[in-house]
Structures are given as structure tokens and as C-alpha cells.
């Protein structure tokens, strides 16, 4: 993973000192709430229900074991003994007092972490594929580009006061696991036969109150021009995006209102200038960043031995076998697998991880996965490089720490925003509903029978849990002040990103598990052979599900 150099540290230190100065001025009453607001937000500080919520940046989801230990210390000393993994791969603390913020930022800085640009109307933390560098279907490792764009966007002087927040995701794999089309800009790294490396550029995606699937703006932008091209896009947005209505201020609204072709014309025009002003990316710059992402010292392993080893264990131990199937993934290097540590145990709020777990994961990362952990937008953690022969021992450790729920990719693996329990924007709670669904579908054999299914719950229109892209999406709304939930079906992320369709009138909180059960039963009764939920839905359409929930299709 990327290791800070002296310049990075000096930069972070300078930003932190300035923020401390600004914070002091605010605490001394020298600047108003209104003036402090953008400064505070750019530092990842939200005023939430209980205390400020501090969002810590996890650049493209990469965390070292020492960073995990620092997060654990902060959780223990300043929070209530846990933190939360967000759907943008970041870490959130919900209970840190304002007067402790400076000290917490200092503790983060000691391990090269910060909270800069994790909120506010600026370019946010860059996200990526949680399996970058290890996925079998990857063409080019996107992380050097993620890091480059991270460096370029941090403190970008021109784009610190955009019309609205701005999110960039990058992948280099055939399968899009980074939700490119749900981002303001999505970049797909590619290899061109003549022009070398470059990017497909997707623009104008986003969820929230007006969900839009992004469109391709350029099929190929050469690597050396990418920063100039990004500058052109974001400048056009900065100058022409709406500022009169924050619900219409994202780039997706601008692109939709003028059309992708007209938008492209403006970007191309601006690109003529930005090519002059932003220096071309030199190969040496990207090469020097890429040295941070060289493969770790993998051993040459005999996969057939590992296979035999696992087959024996699987036979002996069905629980291990289930976990192996659900929670581990093929690795590009023979003899290794990637392991998802589930943060979806029914005993915890989805995405929450305790001090004790953080410390254990840090030790396991050191022992089994080159000291690195990744956070996923599904709110889990990943040990990316585990020897197959270590899987059984790792599983045993994970069970002890309640991190081995063998339910990745199932109805239990619910992506869930913090909702009314923490978030001041929420309409409804999300966490108790997630727990109610997990309880309703308690029987794991039933869960496996249902199979692959994405299930996301957002507590309001802001759609932090990306419910529009879930096979079953739940959105909290208020009806005459009472919490209700709107159900959407058929959403998909990845290469065929599709927005889910609203099933019908929203349902009362206590009726949601029944409605979901009816939906699942409809799927099970209609599926053909091994069809997944989404495939049955696509084949039979929404009406049978409507009938099952409302008694009629209209």
C-alpha cells in the first residue's frame, strides 16, 4: 500500500495545524457557525445527534494494521468502543466530543491518516475495487491511479467549493466492483493497443433523491492527459452546476439538463485550456507511485496440496465449508485466497466494528495477509492475501471474534446506513430493520437456498446505503410523521447497473419483514433451476411481487 513520504507528512501536518487554528478561532467565538461550517465539513466533522460525527478517510479502502490499531485506540479512548465502516470505504466515529477532535486528529496523523475532504462540497475520498491488485479478472491495478488522484485532489484550490460533493471511483477489472456508474466520475483503467494505458471516463452518475446511472463521456483518455481532463470536467461543473438548489446541484443534474453531448462539447472546449495549464503526467511520476503497489512477497505454493488440505477439512467441518464458499474469493495467485471478514453478524449493527475486533483483525492481518486490510463499500473488511493452507486457522480466529458470519452476498449481508440512531438527516431507523430481517431469515439453510441477493437499507432520500442499486432496496420515509418503508426491486450494481423499481405504496415498519418474506417466497416459487433472485425478477417482472405484497398488481 502507499506509504507517506516526508512531503506527504509535512503537508498533512500543515493542514492539521491550520485546522486547529481555525477550530480555536471558532471555539473562541471569532467566527460564526456559518463561516466555520465549510471548514468543519472539509475536515469530516458533521454535527450529528449525539456528538460530532468524524469521518476518517480510508484512501480507496486500504488500511495497514498499525492504522487499524490507531482506530482501535481512538474508539476505546474517545468513542464508545467501536467505529463504523461507511459505504464509501471510510471509517466513522459517532461519539467524539468537539474538544477532543484536535487530539484525535493528532493520533490519526501519527499513522498517516486524516479526515480531510471526507465531507463538504469538494472532491471526496477516492474509492475503488476492494479486490484491487488481487482479483483474477483485473487488467490493470487501479491503485496507483487512485493514489495519484488522491494526491491531486487533496487541497485542490479550485475545487474546494463546488456546487455539491464530488465522488470519484476507479477500477481496473472487467467486473465493476466500484460502482463506477453511481459516481460523479467513474474511471475504468484500460490498455490501448497503440496509445498505452488510459481511462474510459464515465460521468454524471449518482443516487440520492434523483438517482441517475452515469454515461460514458470519453471512451479513452490517455494516462498522461487524465488530470487535465478531470480538471476540465470539474471546472465545467464548478462554473455551470446549479447553486440555487442543493437538491439539484450534483453534476448528474447538469449533465441531464443539457445532455451528455452538449456537456462533452463544453468539456472538450475547456480541455484545450487545461491541457496547457495542467502539466502532463510523466511516466516517472506514476511509476514511482506504482512502486508502492508491487505485489507482496507471495510464496510459490503448491495449489494441489492446498486443495487436498481444504477438501479434507471441508468434509470434516460443514461450517468451515460454508464459510469457505461464501466468504472467500479466488485470488490471481495460486495457493492464495481473499477473505471477507463479515461485519454483518446479527449481534452488531451492520458495518460496526469494535475495539476488540479491530485489534484482533490487525494481528490477523500481520499474521496472515502482509499487514494490510481493506474496507469494502458493502461495509465489510477484507484480508486480501491469505494462503489457502492458513484459511482454517484464520477461520477459527474469526469465529472467536464474531467476524465469520458465513453470509457474504446473501440476504444477511445487508448494506445499511446509520439511520435515525445517529444521522440527523434520517427519516427512519435502519439498523433495527436490518436486525429484524436477519432475525426473520434466521435459518441459514433457508438463507443459502435464497442465494445471491443484495439487500440495502437507507434511512432517507440521500441513499447512503445505495438502495437504488440493490436487488431489494428499502428507503425510510415519513407518512404523517410515522416511519414507513418504500421497497424497490430489481436494482443491480456492476457492469449492468440498473436502478430498482418502486414496488408500490410504502409499508409500515412492522410489516416490512412480512413483505420481504412474501417477495422471497414469490421468487422461490417461480425460480427455474439455479436462477438467482435478480434473474427470476428480470424474467417474470415486478407484477407477481406486487401481488404477493399488496394482494393485487395495481
Amino acid at each position: 500500500m502507499y506509504h507517506y513520504n516526508e512531503n506527504d507528512r509535512a503537508d498533512l501536518q500543515a493542514r492539521r495545524q491550520i485546522f486547529q487554528h481555525q477550530l480555536q478561532r471558532y471555539l473562541d467565538g471569532k467566527i460564526s457557525d456559518e463561516e466555520f461550517r465549510p471548514i468543519r465539513l472539509r475536515q469530516g466533522l458533521y454535527l450529528q445527534r449525539h456528538a460530532p460525527m468524524l469521518r476518517v478517510a480510508v484512501p480507496y479502502g486500504m488500511l495497514s494494521s498499525s492504522q487499524l490499531r490507531a482506530l482501535a485506540r481512538i474508539a476505546r479512548q474517545f468513542d464508545q468502543g467501536f467505529c463504523h465502516i461507511s459505504t464509501r470505504q471510510n471509517v466513522q466515529f459517532n461519539w467524539i466530543a468537539m474538544e477532543d477532535i484536535a487530539e484525535v486528529l493528532g493520533m490519526l496523523a501519527e499513522v498517516d491518516m486524516h479526515s480531510v475532504q471526507t465531507s463538504g462540497d469538494c472532491i471526496r475520498n477516492i474509492t475503488s475495487d476492494a479486490f484491487a491488485g488481487v482479483a483474477q479478472d483485473e487488467l490493470i491495478d487501479p491503485r496507483p491511479y487512485c493514489e495519484l488522484i488522491r494526491q491531486w485532489s487533496i487541497g485542490h484550490p479550485e475545487f474546494a467549493y463546488l456546487p455539491r460533493k464530488f465522488k470519484i471511483a476507479i477500477t481496473g477489472a472487467k467486473t465493476d466492483r466500484a460502482m463506477l456508474q453511481a459516481h460523479d466520475i467513474g474511471l475504468r483503467v484500460q490498455q490501448h493497443s497503440q496509445l498505452g494505458k488510459g481511462f474510459e471516463v464515465i460521468v454524471g452518475g449518482g443516487l440520492g433523491r434523483t438517482p441517475v446511472i452515469g454515461s460514458t463521456l470519453a471512451l479513452f483518455v490517455p494516462e498522461r492527459e487524465i488530470l487535465a481532463y478531470l480538471t476540465a470536467i470539474i471546472r465545467v461543473y464548478n462554473l455551470h452546476g446549479r447553486r440555487d438548489n442543493k437538491y439539484k446541484a450534483r453534476i448528474k443534474i447538469l449533465v441531464k439538463s443539457i445532455g451528455i453531448q452538449a456537456f462533452k462539447k463544453q468539456v472538450d472546449e475547456e480541455f484545450k485550456h487545461t491541457q496547457e495549464e495542467v502539466s502532463f503526467l510523466s511516466p516517472s511520476r506514476i511509476d514511482s507511485i506504482a512502486t508502492h503497489f508491487l505485489p507482496p512477497p507471495y510464496e510459490q505454493l503448491d495449489s494441489s496440496y492446498a486443495d487436498l488440505f481444504l477438501i479434507t477439512l471441508k468434509r470434516k467441518n460443514p461450517s468451515f465449508s460454508r464459510w469457505l464458499k461464501q466468504n472467500t474469493h479466488v485470488h490471481k495467485i495460486g495457493g492464495y485466497r481473499s477473505v471477507t471478514l463479515s461485519l454483518k453478524s446479527p449481534n452488531n449493527a451492520p458495518g460496526d466494528v469494535s475495539t476488540d475486533q479491530l485489534l484482533a483483525i490487525a494481528t490477523l492481518a500481520d499474521q496472515y495477509s502482509f499487514g494490510v486490510v481493506r474496507s469494502t463499500h458493502e461495509q465489510n473488511l477484507v484480508l486480501a492475501d491469505v494462503r489457502e493452507t492458513d484459511l482454517y486457522a484464520l477461520w477459527k480466529h474469526l469465529i472467536q471474534k464474531d467476524l465469520a458470519a458465513p453470509t457474504i452476498g446473501t440476504i444477511h449481508d445487508i448494506i445499511c446506513c446509520p439511520g435515525l440512531d445517529y444521522c440527523s438527516l434520517a427519516n427512519t431507523q435502519s439498523i433495527p430493520l436490518a436486525q429484524a430481517i436477519q432475525t426473520r431469515f434466521e435459518n441459514l439453510d433457508y438463507v443459502y437456498d435464497i442465494g445471491d441477493l443484495s439487500f440495502n437499507i437507507s434511512g432517507c432520500m440521500n441513499a447512503c446505503a445505495h438502495h437504488h442499486l440493490a436487488n431489494i432496496g428499502i428507503l425510510g420515509v415519513l407518512k404523517k410523521g410515522a416511519p414507513y418503508f418504500q421497497i424497490t426491486l430489481g436494482g443491480r450494481k456492476g457492469n449492468e447497473s440498473t436502478l430498482g423499481k418502486i414496488l408500490g405504496p410504502s409499508v409500515a415498519e412492522h410489516d416490512v419483514p412480512n413483505a420481504i418474506e412474501n417477495i422471497i417466497q414469490t421468487y422461490l416459487s417461480r425460480r427455474q433451476e439455479d436462477e438467482r433472485f435478480i434473474d427470476t425478477y428480470l424474467r417474470v417482472g415486478i407484477n407477481p411481487f406486487k401481488e404477493a405484497v399488496y394482494g393485487h398488481a395495481n
Binding site: 471548514i39 462540497d121 484550490p157 475545487f159 464548478n238 485550456h273
Partner: protein, 149 residues
């Protein structure tokens, strides 16, 4: 006389912002910063005064900044709301795409905390309200890290 920060120094500001355009451009006192629409009558150019500047809002289109305007010694972007980040892109376009070499100034309701960002976008002077915290302004300019891009 109000204060300005120019090239990193806090000094008295000789310039005065004029809000109303004059019919006859020669009536503008020296060191006036005149609204853009008070300078568009080409027949009154060249101006007899050497020291005249132009001010305009952050929504100004580049086409409105003509060659004549670019020949002035001072251009002033006036900010109504510090949240309106168009000011930064406009400054950048003036200093790069249009290649403006004179004094590029920001006035109005900006935050002192934004000064380093403006500077990086090509702004060379700031007009400050009398009640500004000048120490904080200087602190921001001196301590903000420089980017490598």
C-alpha cells in the same frame, strides 16, 4: 483607506471600488475599480486615466472580458457568497486561459481561510474589510501547504 494584502504583505489600499457606472469614463477618479458594465463603450477608449480597474461578479462569462478589459492594470472578482466556488475557476481562467498579467484581486464576502486557495488560482491581491482579522489572514497565507500539481 481600507487595507489590502498584496504579494503577501498587508498594506494600505489605494484603490476604491465604484458601484455605479459613469456616463463619461473620463470622470472616474484615478484608482477607481469600476463595474464591468461601466467600461463597455468602446468609443470612450483609450481611457485617459492610467490607473483604472474593473470589477465583476463570479458569474461573469469569459467572453465579457475583452482585450480592452485585459489591458487594465487591475481586475477584481467580487464575491457575494463565500460558498460560491465559481470565483476560483474564474480566477484560474483569467490567469491562465486569458493570460491576464495585471493585479488580480478578490473582494467581498470571501473567507480569510480561502485566501491561500485563491492565491493558487492566480489571485495576487485581496481587499479586506476593516474589521478583518489580519493576523489570521497572514497566518493562512504563510502556513498553507503548497501543492505539487
Amino acid at each position: 483607506m481600507a487595507m489590502q494584502i498584496k504579494q503577501g504583505m498587508l498594506i494600505k489600499d489605494p484603490w476604491l471600488k465604484v458601484n455605479q457606472p459613469a456616463d463619461k469614463y473620463r470622470d472616474y477618479p484615478w484608482f477607481s475599480i469600476v463595474p464591468l458594465n461601466g467600461l463597455h463603450d468602446k468609443s470612450q477608449w483609450p481611457l485617459p486615466q492610467t490607473w483604472i480597474g474593473a470589477w465583476f461578479g463570479v458569474g461573469t462569462e469569459l467572453q465579457q472580458i475583452t482585450e480592452l478589459i485585459l489591458s487594465l492594470p487591475l481586475l477584481n472578482i467580487h464575491v457575494d457568497s463565500f460558498a460560491d466556488g465559481r470565483a476560483f475557476s474564474l480566477a484560474k481562467q483569467l490567469s491562465t486561459a486569458l493570460g491576464y498579467k495585471g493585479e488580480l484581486r478578490v473582494s467581498g464576502n470571501f473567507l480569510l481561510d480561502q485566501m491561500a486557495q485563491f492565491k493558487e488560482c492566480g489571485v495576487t491581491s485581496f481587499s479586506l474589510r476593516d474589521d478583518s482579522d489580519f493576523d489570521h489572514a497572514m497566518y493562512i497565507l504563510e502556513h498553507s501547504p503548497k501543492r505539487e500539481f
